[in-house]
Amino acid sequence: MSQDAHCRQLLHRICEYMDGELDAGTCAQLEAHLAECPDCRTLLDSLRKTVALYRRCVPDDLPPDVRARLHAALNLDTPDAD
């Protein structure tokens, strides 16, 4: 298989690889390709960085004012409201 064909195959499966959803054999093939293809390593690295960037930029909790207005709209008691 040519290098380009390997790269196209990797591109098609790269998200499954990122998510740990490939079978062991396919995973090993892709890792062997990654070891010898800097372009595909760069692609994988940039995809991981993209996801990580978005994932770390979201808050864990509701903003307190949004939470208070939600409780009020739903007529919930708020015994421990700040």
């Binding site: 499954e16 998510d19 960085k49 994932r55 939470r67």
Partner: protein
């Protein structure tokens, strides 16, 4: 996440504290999804309230065919998608009424901006991130938000959106590539973690 079966039992018995527990458990994720989809904090808050009003009205008819959380996220996704459709209808009407007017675009500045750990992110990167996700087609955006930002399993995303797991994977792949292409110039010096 709480024991869904026990919570559902308490909800069906009409226990007020159970509804409060349900709201406090699921509202952060519902709000993040709405904010990610709509890009506008005020509109996301409306969608949040709408979601839980709908949950309250319909919990009696919830049969438990899917998980409670999955059912809530389906309602939340629909609330945001309906708002996006209404927004498009309004923009279309405005274009019809105001010949030559600029079409309205989705707000893009309200998301990804408040995490204190991200204070080091430049305003330029934040703007590029916000514009990139606002530019993502809705069907891809909701999958990216549920799967990658909220870390929901592919099967749960598929169930919440009424699509196949294969479709989730395909849309996720396209979403990641779309966002990566737009963020690429800003990624070179970043560490993966």
């Amino acid at each position: 996440m709480p024991d869904e079966a026990a919570l559902l039992q308490r909800l069906r018995q009409g226990e007020p504290a159970a509804y409060r527990e349900l709201v406090d458990t699921y509202s952060p994720r519902v709000y993040r999804l709405a904010l990610g989809m709509l890009g506008d904090p005020a509109e996301a808050e409306d969608a949040l309230q709408e979601t839980f009003l709908s949950v309250y009205r319909n919990i009696g008819g919830f049969r438990g065919d899917s998980g409670l959380g999955t059912w809530i996220y389906r309602i939340a996704a629909n609330a945001s998608l309906m708002r996006l459709r209404r927004r498009k209808d309004t923009a279309s009407l405005d274009e019809t009424m105001e010949d030559g007017a600029e079409p309205k675009v989705a707000p893009s500045g309200g998301f990804w901006f408040w995490d204190p750990e991200e204070a080091a992110l430049s305003a330029e990167v934040r703007q590029v991130m916000a514009q990139a996700i606002a530019g993502l087609p809705e069907a891809l955006r909701i999958v990216f938000l549920m799967r990658d930002v909220e870390d929901m399993p592919a099967a749960e995303v598929a169930e919440a959106l009424g699509i196949t797991v294969a479709a989730v994977k395909s849309r996720l792949h396209r979403a990641r590539m779309f966002l990566r292409d737009r963020l690429y110039p800003y990624l070179a010096d970043r560490e993966t973690r």
